[in-house]
Amino acid sequence: MVKLGIIIRLIETVGRGLIRFIEEFGLVMFLFLASLVWSLRPPVRIRAIFKQMEFVGVNSLLVVLLTGIFTGGVLAFQAYHGFRLFSAEGLVGSTVALAMTRELGPVLTSLMVTGRAGSAMAAELGTMRVTEQIDALYTMACNPIKYLVVPRVIAGVLMLPVLTIIADFVGIIGGYLVGVGLLQINSGIYVAKMIEIVELEDIFNGLVKAACFGLILSLIGCYKGFYTSGGAEGVGRATTQAVVIASVCILISDYFLTAAMF
């Protein structure tokens, strides 16, 4: 009988895990729908949105620039070694450009922004929650979702594509500098092949992906912060979880978005 009890407890753990997952997923979805509804209701808090856009977008610029340029450069290095095997060095440019616009630009940008802004969202909202500022907003008849979540989500969705296109561009420049400057690939062939192979669709699908990632990271950051409990320790936990969950979700959804688009 003892053994049966252990087995049941094990099964319970699995069940609890699933229920918790569904619960959390439901709460995130609820937050998404609520922020969607609230974002359509006037008045539009344009100033709050701008503030978040500055925080998510403008202040992430340096990080994204560095990530983009070095990713492009290292891609050119690696691709060069592969293509040299069958004398197709001219294809390095298109490889770098395709990889940046389709995959690395959106994903790396979103991961960087998750680390910078997603964590900050969770920490900010979490602190507001544990110091009961969010409850105070309720008592002032000010919907905290409208006031806190909506501007962050809008900023995430709008800013990530902009950051991504910048990352794409500097990534391609980084690849060019390494390919043409260091590895002595003919610049004409490099650029011509790139223009020939990269399609407008590649760039746009990358931007659509970036917008989806922006939604995911801001939503999860806000969600983790919004439902924080347990004081300062809880805030720390919420921040960590926000970054981890958002990063994993971005990578998983990236697979499905790519499968659906290309």
Binding site: L40, P42, P43, V44, I46, R47, F50, K51, M53, E54, G57, V58, L61, F86, A88, P161, V162, L163, I165, I166, D168, F169, I195, V198, E199, L200, I203, F204, L207
Partner: protein, 496 residues
């Protein structure tokens, strides 16, 4: 240094992003394929293996178009080629599917024929095509040849292998041998007969010669008979002559008709007047004469035809669009309507005339300054006309995916930029107008999406920098070109 405002920072940031996007898409989207840019021709290939949509079409290595579509028609590949409008090819052009690069990318090469060949019309089909000669098909052909050979040899060997076949073959061979033997025997046996036949022939020809020499008299008689016959013929002719003489003298009905002076006079008169008319025409007198003789007339006709042709051709490019759009404003719960006429003389240029029914109305501000006894009073009068009509008049020019507009926007001066995406189905626009010293400019962002041919939906954010008037809107519109009218004007077939 003054610190930049948040809005300015975000604004700069977004502008940089849009500029980079614009630059990149302009570099990539060199030759866009809207529905109107270029014309289609078709080529029928036995195999379009390896060919995909969008690969280039080249003439002498220069890209002149792209493969638009590949479909199956009667077991052959029908390849639609979209050529640039400035590229002309003759009807004797040859299309070949070629391979380039180490990776074996396929493309279509057009080989031009004689320069004097009549030009290919849009929608025409290329007569001569060459399918890709790859190793696969080569092997396949060799394979089929080999198979045919095998069939023949198989059949022969089958004949030899089968007992029946062997038997019949043996019979054939036996028959042949018999035939040859019989022939031989016949010739040998009838050697004498044949000799006699030949002798007879000799005798016959000798007789013939003798007949001709001995019967000379009879031959002469025959000739005499002929002469008699011809004499009779002469008499008959004389009789005929008498009849015609009778007619000439006016005897008999026909004679009377022909001999009657009146008849002849009438006929003469008719002939004279006919000649006069012809002479007049020749001299260029009279209306018809002038028409026929005057060089100018011909030139005029030619010029008219040319200008009609020009007009019709222009008519092909010239487009007019009528457009209605309604926007529902969420905040003020109102409808804003636009009725516009778009005149598009060229593909990349158009003029827009628009009538706007704006529920927000127009605010008129009058500042009156009066000085009475050294005291200056300033009176500001603000009048708002509700539900006012405004008008827009703009010129627009398009560069690749980017369109720029300038002119009058809702009765104020302004500029706008449009960004065209997904074959022009999605248009993102940013308008800025009403630049005014004491007010923020009116900025409007909108996105138009056209899922169907004449219908589109729109959504956007109007006047978003101002604190009062900013509001989201959502709406739909109808969009008609002059296609129907144009069909009547120029699309109808004209006999050449």
């Amino acid at each position: 240094m003054k610190k930049l405002s948040i809005e300015a920072k975000v604004g700069f940031f977004v502008i940089i992003g849009i500029l980079i996007l614009g630059y990149m898409s302009m570099r990539i989207g060199r030759f866009k394929y809207g529905p109107d840019r270029g014309y289609e021709v078709y080529g029928y290939f036995d195999s379009a293996e390896g060919l995909v949509k969008g690969v280039p079409v080249q003439i002498a290595g220069v890209e002149v178009g792209r493969v638009l579509d590949i479909t199956l028609e009667d077991g052959r590949a029908k390849v639609a080629l979209l050529l640039k409008p400035d590229v002309t090819i003759g009807e004797d052009v040859e299309a070949a599917i070629r391979t380039k690069g180490v990776l074996g990318d396929r493309y279509v090469e057009l080989i031009l024929g004689a320069p004097e060949a009549p030009p290919m019309k849009p929608g025409g089909s290329i007569k001569r095509t060459a399918s890709p000669a790859n190793i696969d098909t080569l092997l396949k052909q060799l394979d089929s040849i080999g198979r045919d050979f095998k069939q023949i040899t198989g059949a022969i060997s089958g004949v030899f292998e089968e007992k029946e076949g062997q038997a019949s073959l043996r019979i054939i061979v036996d028959n042949l041998r018999d035939l040859a033997q019989t022939l031989n025997q016949t010739v040998q046996k009838n050697n004498e007969n044949i000799n006699r036949i030949l002798d007879n022939f000799t005798v016959f020809s000798t007789d013939l010669r003798e007949i001709s020499s001995t019967n000379k008299e009879s031959l002469r008689e025959v000739v005499a008979n002929f002469r008699q016959a011809s004499d009779h013929l002469g008499k008959t002719i004389i009789a005929f002559k008498q009849i015609t003489d009778k007619i000439n003298r006016g005897e008999g009905t026909i004679g009377r008709l022909i001999q009657d002076e009146e008849t002849v006079d009438t006929m003469n008169q008719a002939l004279v007047s006919l000649r006069e008319i012809a002479e007049k025409i020749n001299r260029g007198e009279g209306t018809i004469g002038k028409l026929v003789q005057d060089e100018e007339t011909l030139e005029n006709i030619n010029a008219t035809l040319t200008s009609v042709n020009d007009f019709l051709q222009k008519e092909e490019m010239f487009r007019t669009y009528v457009d209605y759009r309604g926007e529902y404003l969420f905040d003020s719960d109102n409808m804003k309507s636009y009725l516009s006429l778009r005149i598009q003389p060229k593909e990349d240029k158009y003029y827009l005339l628009q009538l706007v029914d704006d529920p927000a109305g127009r605010t008129k501000k009058t500042v009156t300054t009066r000085t009475v006894d050294g005291v200056t009073t300033t009176e500001i009068k603000e009048e708002t006309e509700k539900d006012d009509f405004k008008f827009s008049a703009q010129i627009a020019k398009r560069y690749y995916d980017l369109g720029l507009r300038a002119g009058i926007f809702e009765s104020h001066g302004g500029v706008a930029a449009d960004y065209y995406l997904f074959d022009d189905r999605l248009i993102l626009s940013m308008e800025a107008f009403n630049f005014n010293e004491d007010e923020d400019p009116h900025l409007k962002f909108k996105a138009d999406y056209t899922p169907f041919r004449h219908l589109y939906v729109t959504a956007g954010f109007d006047d978003f920098v101002s604190d009062e008037g900013n509001e989201f809107f959502f709406g739909a519109g109808l969009h008609f070109s002059d296609e129907d009218l144009k069909t009547l004007l120029s699309g109808a077939p004209i006999p050449h």
